[in-house]
Symmetry: C2
Subunit: 442 residues, 2 copies
């Protein structure tokens, strides 16, 4: 993408309304624009990050056997009366009336709707296990939305729902999502620690939050340092092997870890002082097992191998991709701006032409631009007439993993500079080396 | 994907509520489930088609220079008061109040919001042309939603918005979208005919609908048969060349074409009788030039080369991907079910194991399944214990372009059958030929 034809509205000043660094950087880097209380447009560069985040989530959901669907945002109140949650949910639910005065609502979550889908089609244990997920906008009318996309009212959520014959099956489904979450966050360059959690309005008796550690975290968390060394399961993990998956979950739930609400001082005191890690954390995922909470009132039953009808045992599993973008920035930035992990960077390479109009600079840039793209790299080519200092500042701010800098002196000598955004290391190399570095043919 | 682990809730009976063939087939093929009046879940196979349709739209928007963003579904009433449309829009607009009694609405379209984004950042003609699009859910509270996703209340829409200094620039932007639309529909196997149209509540003075011909179409259309032979511009079309793009538009707007509302009997009578094509049509896209209709009241101005401020000249460009899925089915089906064009098929190949449990059948199927997938094909492998007749009926109903059928007699001889869903042609071939046919290595 040529920056001259792109829409990247960089802000020079720190926006006053932004209280936390991710909100500030997302506004400054032209990723988002606020449209209302807790409501944001993803601008082009923000949309690119969102797509990459969603794609990783999707790949790991699919790998774990979940199937993607897409449910509507608007739901009928009737459905929520079946589960008994319509009156319980309170003012966070955005309630709507249509032109015929029917009561609707903007879905804050989808347990009821997906249970309705399930009961309409699935009648036998032979069709289980089943896990359906979607990535869809949700609305929760928070009293005080803030911190940008970290706590919005309209936000994107990946929510998966598992259906099993009994607790044993449901626990295996829970475990698969647990492991999928470990993999998902790791692929985004995050260290996420699963912590026992309260189940809140979703209900149920087993729940983990996945928390990443960041100084600006919203809540106090406590865990054993052992977590920092645990190995995250690889891509070859066999999600069909319940015992192997259960083993991984055991490993990741044995050391002490708790959010503030679940914290147990007695257990904490037993950990050697050097191993105690008390820090701020950001919730990036939340999984629940709630058994028959929805299947029973809503009549979602299957026939078991015993010929009898059983209420299915369910769980739900959420990740907020928009919030996750902010969390990644909280965990990975410096004074100059964002530092994207390669897997979610909006572009791989910032190609910086220091002197547009200089014949050598222009021709080398054009050549690199074509070659890098042909090698499958996403390149943002700064071909604008801004001065070099401004270009460097922009590249640092938007945080692409690599900068390839083409200036008149180097160009005359057939050389360019490569800068690693994370380490700050700079290296002057020949054109041939620059091409090779990014897998491009000469 | 193994069908035994997939969620494909086929209906054996024709659902009574479905009045048109696409609605009937989408329900029967397990693509959608109705969740409320004019509101549908895309089930796994429907979601796959939707993704492919959206990806083609996206590629052609990008090719034409549009940039993808994502605006929220909920908008503030305040914004719509600025343009004067809040009171005009009528009961089709879903109006909402939040917990603080602020007036919100579920966006039926996004002219106001995108104009607000534009005016916040863009100040100079040097940043033009600009075209921003998103693919997002819309809600229009139709009195009588019907025909499945063809006329829903909550529906997906790709809406693009162009901003230019003056009419000349805006017309060039309009032309680029015009040509992008021709390419988009062609890639989905559709013949779309652009027709001068009424501008309705969007406003403006220049507008085309893109109509595909289908017996079950919602409206009467009239055009010159010449359209059927016009060549659609190729992938190498230079969208940077305004003159070339204008030439293509001229070619596609010169022969007579009109919807019922715009029909001109006098002009029609001048066409030789043999060339007159009077048919039913389905609108699949709609583009508008409306100049300063929103930029003027909302103060979206840029400084021109003359140093003066100019209200930008705008257009908007819509395609409904969910409706488009139904339109493709209306245009491509037979008595047995859907016939997907390859570009939007949910899977490329239905691999049918006629006798699960037979050693030869199972091992050949496993081998083909792995090899086809390694060759980049999406394969739906019917490994269920249903009888062969049911498997054939399902494969025909869901309409994948190719069926590869493995039965015990053929398997013993190292042969499989390949069926083309569109032509019905069947061919018995060796395993080696079957592999080669789909680009797979032995």
């Amino acid at each position: 993408m040529r920056l001259s034809r792109y829409f990247l509205p960089i802000l020079k000043e720190n926006p006053r309304e932004a209280e936390i660094v991710s909100h500030r950087l997302m506004l400054r880097a032209g990723m988002i624009r606020q449209q209302g209380q807790g409501s944001f447009t993803m601008l082009p560069i923000g949309k690119r990050v969102m797509d990459k985040v969603c794609q990783i989530i999707r790949e790991e959901q699919n790998r774990a056997g979940a199937l993607e669907i897409l449910m509507p945002t608007i739901q009928s109140a009737e459905l929520w009366r079946e589960s008994g949650r319509y009156d319980d949910y309170g003012k966070e639910m955005l309630r709507i009336k249509d032109r015929q005065d029917r009561e609707l609502l903007y879905g804050p979550t989808n347990e009821e709707m997906v249970t309705e889908i399930f009961r309409s089609y699935v009648k036998s244990y032979k069709d289980l296990p089943l896990n359906l997920y979607h990535i869809q906008w949700k609305f929760r009318d928070e009293v005080r939305p803030r911190f940008g996309v970290m706590r919005g009212r309209e936000f994107l959520m990946k929510d998966a729902y598992s259906f099993d014959l009994n607790y044993e099956g449901a626990k295996a489904a829970y475990n698969r999502m647990f492991v999928a979450y470990l993999r998902t966050f790791t692929r985004m360059g995050l260290k996420a620690i699963p912590m026992r959690a309260d189940t809140g309005p979703i209900g149920g008796d087993l729940s983990h939050e996945f928390i990443i550690l960041a100084e600006t975290g919203e809540s106090q968390v406590f865990c054993d340092r052992e977590f920092l060394d645990l190995e995250v399961p690889g891509a070859s993990t066999d999600f069909g092997n319940d015992a192997q998956i259960a083993h991984i979950v055991k490993e990741w739930t044995t050391p002490y870890a708790a959010t503030d609400e679940m914290h147990d001082e007695a257990a904490w005191d037993k950990i050697p002082a050097d191993d105690r890690l008390s820090a701020r954390g950001i919730e990036v995922g939340h999984i629940f097992h709630f058994g028959e909470k929805y299947s029973k009132p809503m009549g979602a039953k299957v026939q078991g191998p015993d010929g009898k009808e059983h209420n299915v045992s369910m769980g739900s599993y959420g990740i907020g991709p928009t919030r996750l973008i902010a969390a990644i920035i909280e965990a990975s930035h410096d004074d100059a701006g964002i530092i994207w992990p390669e897997s979610v960077a909006p572009f791989d390479i910032a190609l910086i032409n220091m002197k547009v109009g200089d014949h050598e600079c222009d021709s080398i840039c054009e050549r690199l631009y074509d070659a890098f793209q042909a090698a499958g790299k996403d390149v943002l080519y700064d071909d604008t007439d801004q001065r070099a200092g401004g270009k460097f500042a922009t590249a640092d701010l938007i945080g692409l993993p690599w900068q390839v800098i083409v200036g008149p002196r180097g160009a005359a000598a057939g050389e360019v500079e490569i800068k690693n955004r994370r380490t700050g290391e700079r290296e002057t190399v020949s054109l041939a080396v620059a091409l090779e570095r990014f897998g491009a043919a000469e």
